[in-house]
């Protein structure tokens, strides 16, 4: 029998290969959606096998699934399917306007499943080298998404993205090499020497100075991919230029994947150097990310950039949760990751539809009163904004409360207070921006209508589906998913 993990990786890869071939549109849609739906099913099967007992690794333990991996795997599979479904609808809309070239079609159907493959590889990698290679793969695939629409600004965004991303990954690689150097003589030989599990076993014997240097470089490196401030500057540009379905993959897939890498490094550091070192760094970077998002959200001029800064805020919240160093806060951070993976796509998909209807995501082109032109997308965007700013009764409210509560009874009260203040201002800023485009009367007669009126097509249907899921998940989290989050907390916090 083929190993379940290998099958989960092969399926999106085959889907990507099929996507490059020239076939009729309906066949291509069916292949991509079918392939990614089956991939999601396999991810769920992996999580189920994990929950029901031991899940065997593969390739000499280079691939391994524990609680954290299983959670990220399920979220990645979900987001991959969502992006593909919306993506098919997105491409149809552009096709109807004659905007789609054969190059775009090939790239889209090939790259999207390819990206899913790289995300899943990150999530199940136990080998730090394989992990690095997989993260670099997501970066290289993303570049094609950023240049997808081939505008002047796409080139600028792609250049900044690739240079900053490569530099970050260079740092992450140096970090990995230094971690490896710190364990010389204790890790064994060959490929398994880079296994995370080996590092954890050898933790007390690792050389402290080399390790510390390695942890700093690796956290900065993977922090660049996650979009933690001050290494976040590629994010708004890339979000604005890439097509919305691809942004979903970046905003959730890459973010979760990079956070997964950060957590792995954090755990090695904690086992070897004690809890203070990397937690302090994460708390600092997380707090900085939340604070830096504040002014840019208040003065924002573009819908997708607004969501990029919201992403920076949320990854900051997760980093703060982990950095606070309390079990409840870690649970809150992982719960936040889960809810963010459900709510952020809703925001991006509805914003994507608004941008597509107005042929631009700039506020100046969308104008005010979008509700009169695109009621469904506008309403869903307002809903997403409420969720993303942490309003009750939605999921992100509960996870944020959990982190705040753990912070206020812990040793980092000042940091938590600053964090809370930033969240309040962010809420106001976001509400202001959303009100600006959605509410109010259209500026003039011409603005009452859009050239391409909103229709109940595949893209809109997917967005509505995502909204239903996001609302329901806030009220009722399925028991297996909750056990997964608990298991992941067990991995990050120590004893299960």
């Amino acid at each position: 029998m083929v190993n379940l993990l290998i099958a989960t990786l092969l399926l999106p890869l085959l889907t990507a290969a099929a996507g490059v071939v020239d076939l009729p549109r309906k066949v291509k849609d069916a292949l991509m959606l079918g392939g990614l739906a089956a991939t999601f099913a396999l991810c769920l099967a992996v999580a189920r096998r994990f929950l029901s007992g031991a899940m065997p690794g593969a390739l000499g333990e280079a691939l391994r699934v524990d609680g954290l991996s299983a959670l990220v795997l399920v979220l990645s599979g979900f987001v991959g399917l969502l992006a593909a479904t919306y993506g098919a609808g997105y491409l149809h809309r552009n096709e109807a306007r004659g905007l789609v070239t054969p190059r775009m079609r090939r790239e889209f159907y090939g790259l999207l499943p390819g990206y899913v493959f790289a995300m899943l590889l990150v999530a199940m990698s136990n080998n730090l080298g394989v992990m690095w290679i997989a993260v670099e793969l997501t970066t290289l695939v993303s570049v094609f998404f950023v240049t997808f629409h081939d505008r002047d600004t796409s080139l600028e965004a792609a250049w900044k993205f690739l240079v900053l991303g490569s530099l970050g990954l260079g740092f992450a690689l140096l970090g990995t090499v230094l971690l490896f150097a710190a364990g010389q003589g204790h890790l064994g030989e060959g490929m398994p020497a880079l296994n995370w599990t080996r590092f954890m076993q050898a933790a007390p014997a690792l050389h402290p100075f080399t390790l510390r240097l390695g942890v700093v470089f690796a956290l900065i490196g993977y922090g660049t991919k996650a979009g933690l401030a001050p290494m976040h500057t590629w994010k708004p540009d890339a979000y604005r230029e890439a097509p919305s379905p691809a942004v979903v993959l970046m905003a959730v897939g890459m973010l979760n994947g990079a956070l997964y890498c950060i957590l792995r490094i954090h755990l090695i550091s904690r086992a070897a150097l004690g809890p203070g070192f990397s937690s302090g760094l994460l708390l600092l970077l997380g707090l900085l990310s939340v604070l830096i998002a504040v002014p840019f959200i208040v003065i924002q001029w573009n819908l997708k950039r607004l969501l990029a800064y919201s992403s920076i805020e949320h990854v900051g919240i997760m980093a703060v949760g982990v950095g606070l160093g309390a079990e409840a806060a870690v649970f809150g951070a992982l719960l936040h990751m889960t809810y963010h993976s459900i709510a952020k796509p809703l925001g991006l998909l509805s914003a994507g539809t608004l941008a597509q209807l107005h042929s631009s995501s700039d506020f100046s082109r969308i104008g005010s009163g979008s509700f009169t032109r695109a009621p469904i997308a506008s309403a869903l965007f307002v809903l997403a904004a409420l969720m993303l700013t942490g309003c009750p009764p939605f999921g992100l409210f509960f996870s944020e409360m959990m982190i705040l509560r753990a912070g206020l009874i812990g040793p980092h009260v000042t940091a938590t207070a600053i964090f809370l203040a930033a969240l309040v201002v962010l809420f106001c800023g976001f509400a202001l921006q959303v009100g600006r485009i959605v509410l109010g009367p259209p500026r003039d007669r011409a603005e009452r209508r859009v050239p391409f009126p909103e229709r109940l097509d595949l893209g809109t249907a997917t967005t509505i589906g995502a909204a239903v899921l996001a609302v329901v998940s806030g009220l009722y989290l399925p028991a297996p998913l909750l056990s997964l989050i608990r298991a992941a907390t067990g991995v990050v916090w120590g004893a299960p």
Binding site: G129, L162, L167, L174, M191, A193, T210
Partner: protein, 215 residues
């Protein structure tokens, strides 16, 4: 004997990094990067022969093939096609840049004393040079404007990381090394294509013109 060769090669890498800082002709800069990678290959080969770790010979061969031959050839072809051969005046002039780099080298060597091999011996020099090159690469990246120079700075950082890998560890596992090389070459290819398109659009490869996206 082995130690002398290693130190000589490491010194050679550092010298090429300095020359890269002082260089405005892009062709020469690319050749300098090729020489730097050749030294890196020599370091790996020397360690491989001296310690009998033959997997490192593959690393050495791969480094020379990719970074001394293939990548320089690709970059030269790129600038030949777009016909831009010189870096413009950098933000900091050359003498000041070189002084800053001396400072960075001191910092690099200072940090390298914390490693378990201590402040003596061959690996001290290898780590010291590697960290200095890392800092110099970052410095070039922020002070230079031509896209090709930025790619070279990125590759210098990459070389520094590999020098640490062969100098301090017994070499990364081969599969991982192959994967990393593959990713690096892909990244350079994509960057090269981007340079082409940037020049087509903006009629310049001055990346400081890429400044529409703010806020």
């Amino acid at each position: 004997m082995t130690g002398d060769i290693l130190i000589l090669c490491a010194a050679g890498m550092l010298v090429t990094a300095y020359l890269l800082v002082g260089q405005k002709a892009l062709f020469t800069a690319i050749r300098l990067f090729g020489v730097q990678s050749l030294f890196l290959g020599l370091v790996a080969a020397t360690i491989a022969v001296a310690s009998g770790r033959h997997a490192l010979l593959v690393t050495a061969a791969l480094t020379v093939a990719l970074k001394t031959v293939l990548i320089p050839w690709f970059l030269m072809r790129t600038i030949d096609r777009i016909g831009i051969h010189r870096e413009i005046e950098p933000v900091l002039n050359v003498p000041v840049s070189l002084l800053v780099c001396v400072g960075l080298t001191v910092v690099g060597y200072r940090v390298s004393t914390g490693f378990p091999e201590g402040a003596s011996g061959v690996s001290h020099h290898l780590i010291g040079v590697a960290l200095s090159m890392l800092f110099i690469g970052l410095f070039v990246m922020v002070t230079r404007k031509k896209a090709i120079t930025q790619i070279l700075a990125l590759l210098t950082v990459e070389n520094a990381v590999f020098l640490v890998a062969v100098g301090v560890t017994s070499g990364m596992p081969l599969v991982v090394e192959l994967g990393i090389s593959f990713d690096v070459i892909l990244a350079v290819l994509i960057l090269g294509v981007l340079v082409h398109r940037i020049v087509d659009r903006f009629e310049s490869m001055d990346v400081s013109r890429l400044s529409k996206l703010k806020g």
